[in-house]
């Protein structure tokens, strides 16, 4: 709600990758709204804590609902929100610290429930908002304010983590490719089930990886990011693992489970199957009458 808020006191650094993600989300929401003739207020963005989560306050144009909660708990909030209101379109914006460190325990349960929400993780490989501490995706041996000897923990491989947790729809993206990211967000929102878009979103202040991601042929630097090969079959889980374990960063569709029944549909079907219906309070008391 940046345009209408005169006292807002947060902004991103110039060149922050999150600007591209914000534009992609704004356009994707407008596109969805137009395609489905659905009001923008039917969407809600659940934001984590960190630079990434502050995106919810910087959204321009038509405004969705937002909830800016506590550190690491975007997924649990979305679990209650979407389960209570399956009619809403729920989007999550989070970062590598919020989602993969303090919040990592929540990925598995939502993936296994197949909660019908879309997660956009902005990975800058560092805790930016708190000024440059190591995150799970910071590389081994990198010196940060909390790793004076160089980072001692192995770098996490997010794509592998998601696949192992059971994420059924997974894409990898980069914040500079706004149009492609917008398309992924639209597709992820349309997917009936749990979807994750992991976005490389560099921090120009503490971990500027633009050059490493793009590479520099003149200086002989091979780009870290590369397009997912055309022959990759995203419905093939083993092949998706191969991409995730490849060492470099594939950009594109990584995995899409062939069957996807979201949690709220599972519940509806189970109720139909078992014939569970609501009794009135009077009926429930009457069943206990002595």
């Amino acid at each position: 709600m940046s345009k209408r808020n005169p006292v807002y006191d947060f902004t991103w650094c110039p060149g922050c990758g999150d600007f591209g993600v914000k534009r992609a989300i704004e356009s994707a929401l407008v596109e969805r709204s137009a395609t489905l003739s659905e009001s923008i207020e039917n969407s809600a963005i659940v934001a984590g804590i960190g630079c990434s989560g502050n995106l919810v306050h910087l959204q321009e144009g038509p405004q969705p609902f937002g909830i800016h909660g506590i550190h690491g708990r975007t997924l649990p909030i979305a679990y209650g929100l979407k389960s209570s209101r399956p009619d809403l379109n729920v989007l999550i914006v989070s970062g590598d610290g919020d989602f993969l460190s303090i919040g990592a325990e929540h990925i598995g349960p939502q993936a296994k429930r197949n909660l019908d929400v879309t997660v956009i993780v902005m990975d800058n490989g560092v805790y930016g908002l708190t000024k440059g501490q190591a995150s799970p995706t910071t590389e081994l041996e990198v010196v940060t304010s909390t790793t004076p000897y160089g980072k001692l923990d192995d770098q996490m491989s997010p794509l592998e983590t998601y696949l192992a947790a059971g994420v059924g729809w997974l894409a990898s993206s980069i914040s500079t490719q706004v149009k492609a990211l917008q398309q992924l967000v639209v597709e992820a929102m349309a997917h009936p089930g749990f979807s994750v878009i992991h976005v490389q979103s560099p921090c120009t202040t503490y971990n500027d990886t633009y050059a490493a991601l793009k590479g520099n042929p003149k200086e002989g630097i091979e780009p870290l990011a590369y397009p997912v090969p055309e022959h990759h079959d995203p419905t093939d889980l083993l092949s998706a693992y191969g991409l995730a374990k490849g060492g470099r960063i594939p950009i594109g569709m990584v995995y899409q489970r062939p069957d996807s029944v979201p949690s709220h549909t599972r519940l509806e079907e189970a109720r139909e199957r078992t014939g569970a219906t609501q009794k009135t309070v009077d009926e429930l008391f009457t069943a206990m009458v002595i």
Partner: protein
């Protein structure tokens, strides 16, 4: 809240029967007491059960107690008329609570009671096998107890038939075996010639009565209040409410789920409450500890939700299956920063029903989190109560934004219209300090304004009802929660003995009813019986200008009436000797 009627005088054997089944976890001692209570309730007696058992699937010392009476009862009784001891440990550790004329029924396959006296040895397991149902040892014992109390076996037969008619192929055989076991037990007991004074005949109540447990009453309260979403994580002694909701809340727009942790539960409730729905969880102390930050978010972002905390012994893992009242301070201040979470603590089964409705109503009215502070002894208690008059149920709904407030959510000097996703008024529900539309801002004047708004809303809750008797007395007794029953018994004995004492009670502990606080401030002394070490409610009362002092107990068990009576008398003497006479 109407004052409770007097409990039957203890030791009047003809009106009261207290039976304790003691043994190991897994031997059905809790089930035994509940079956006896249920059968007695069916013929018109008033019943109340209490149980205590270890935190393991099988083994460890456990007992279940049933009190059966011709009068209304509020606690499970001090002295035992019958002690059923299934092993030596159970006998040794419970026999001193036997009344003068009490009888022991023991498992003679396990041990022998050598001092003679009023003891009946039954080879219950062998007798159960002989009955054709090896699992009917409990029934052998219940048959013996019924014989001792001159309780017609026909009542029990009817009950057994009803309980085991489950539409399964083996029903008839199970029923037959259980009935045979009842008779075998009764015949053995008859041979001894022992008897208790016969219970007076039950006087069937003109009202429709239900036999209900505390967690069921709370669950029904939640449903009656219009609850939409219930999300919980298994934890003793709160799991029973989760399973009750799983089994009983269905239908369009309703959701019940098992979460992966209490951290997930509370965050999910925030999401559910934000979505416009009425949301609740049940947990115990360790879970409430984990919910601290999420409750702060609900307070800060002004999201209605209810947490039912079924208190157990703490801290840490503590005493998972025992009863205690030691979470009050945490319930009021469950997380960091300035907040004061509304707390309602039921003291009876009826209050578990009405209090849960009120907890949901409070959360909707002031738009924030509410804690329903139950406890093991209330949640697991089984009791007969008059079926609540459902025409009195009033379910409140939050004031919803209609678009006229634009994108401004956090406005005015108190409760503001709540924008529901899908409708007008998109805003950010923000746990960071925020401006009117929920955008983060940490300017000093904004924090001051919003903090005032959040606390101002509590004034909407300060008009709760309370019980007050003999209000002219300068010394008052004021229990809370599950200590209400025992305290009532002790209070009535003290006043009958000539003590001039006021009685106050409310289930609305935060904010306390403002009129009640005014009255309490005028007392020379307010004594608070409570099951914790710190004396938590008296701390809360002292902080609000009341000269309150606690009488505490922290054994994992409820107060006994006689003990409490003596301790209250002592407290009155030592703290205000010149004011009170004994």
């Amino acid at each position: 809240m109407a004052p409770l009627s007097a409990p039957a005088k203890a030791a009047s054997m003809s009106k009261n029967l207290v039976v304790r089944f003691a043994g190991e976890g897994g031997q059905g001692v809790v089930g035994g007491s509940e079956i006896l209570a249920a059968a007695a309730a069916q013929v018109g007696y008033h019943v109340l059960t209490f149980s205590t058992f270890p935190s393991q699937i099988k083994g460890g010392p456990a007992w279940g107690q049933a009190r059966i009476s011709t009068d209304e009862i509020l606690e499970s009784g001090d002295e035992l008329d019958v002690l059923v001891a299934l092993n030596r440990y159970a006998y040794d550790h419970n026999v001193e609570e036997l009344s003068e004329n009490g009888v022991v029924v023991y498992n003679s396959e396990e041990f022998e009671v050598d001092e003679g006296g009023r003891a009946i040895g039954l080879p219950a397991d062998q007798m159960a096998r002989d009955s054709g149902n090896p699992r009917a040892a409990n029934m052998v014992v219940i048959g013996a107890v019924a014989q001792l109390a001159d309780f017609p076996l026909a009542y029990l037969e009817t009950f057994v038939t009803k309980r085991f008619t489950r539409g399964r192929p083996g029903d008839a055989k199970i029923i037959e075996g259980n009935i045979a076991a009842l008779h075998m037990g009764a015949e053995e007991a008859a041979k001894t010639g022992f008897s208790l004074e016969a219970l007076d005949a039950a006087v069937p109540s003109p009202d429709e009565r239900v036999l209900i447990k505390g967690f069921e009453a709370a669950g029904l309260g939640a449903i009656a209040a219009g609850l939409d979403s219930f999300i919980g994580y298994p934890i003793s002694p709160a799991t029973t409410m989760l399973t009750y909701m799983e089994e009983n809340l269905h239908g369009d727009g309703k959701f019940v789920g098992q979460s992966s942790s209490e951290i997930e539960s509370i965050a999910a409730l925030v999401g559910a409450g934000f979505s416009g729905r009425k949301a609740m969880t049940s947990t115990a102390g360790p879970g409430l500890s984990l919910m601290g930050e999420g409750l702060g978010l609900a307070w800060m972002a002004e999201i209605p939700l209810v947490v039912v905390d079924v208190q157990r012994g703490g801290p840490a893992t503590g005493l998972p299956t025992k009863t205690e009242q030691s979470d009050l301070l945490m319930a009021i201040n469950p997380g960091h920063g300035d907040m004061s979470v509304p707390v309602i603590a039921p003291g009876t089964i009826e209050e578990a029903f009405w209090g849960t409705i009120e907890a949901v109503n409070w959360s909707e009215r002031y738009q924030g989190p509410v804690i329903m502070l139950s406890e093991a002894s209330i949640a697991e208690r089984q009791q007969d109560i008059v079926k609540p008059d459902l025409s009195q149920v009033r379910a409140e709904n939050r004031v919803v934004a209609d678009g006229s407030t634009g994108n401004e959510r956090y406005i005015g000097d108190g409760v503001a219209p709540f924008p529901v996703p899908g409708g007008p008024g998109a805003y950010i529900a923000n746990g960071s300090e925020h401006d009117e539309q929920g955008d983060t801002t940490h300017l000093p004047e904004v924090h001051v304004t919003q903090t005032h708004r959040r606390f101002k809303k509590l004034e909407l809750l300060a008009n709760g009802s309370f019980e007050a008797e003999q209000t002219g007395a300068s010394v008052a007794i004021m229990p809370w929660g599950g200590s209400k029953g025992s305290t009532r018994g002790a209070y009535l004995e003290l006043t009958a003995g000539g003590e001039d004492l006021a009685w106050y009670y409310t289930m609305y502990l935060n904010p306390l009813p403002s009129k009640l606080l005014d009255e309490l401030r005028g007392k020379n002394l307010v004594i608070v019986p409570e099951l914790n070490y710190l004396g938590q409610l008296s701390q809360v009362l002292r902080a609000q200008g009341v000269n309150a002092h606690s009488v505490t107990q922290y054994t994992g068990l409820p107060f006994k009436v006689q003990d409490l009576r003596d301790r209250l008398a002592e407290e009155i003497r030592t703290r205000s000797g010149k004011l009170a006479t004994v």
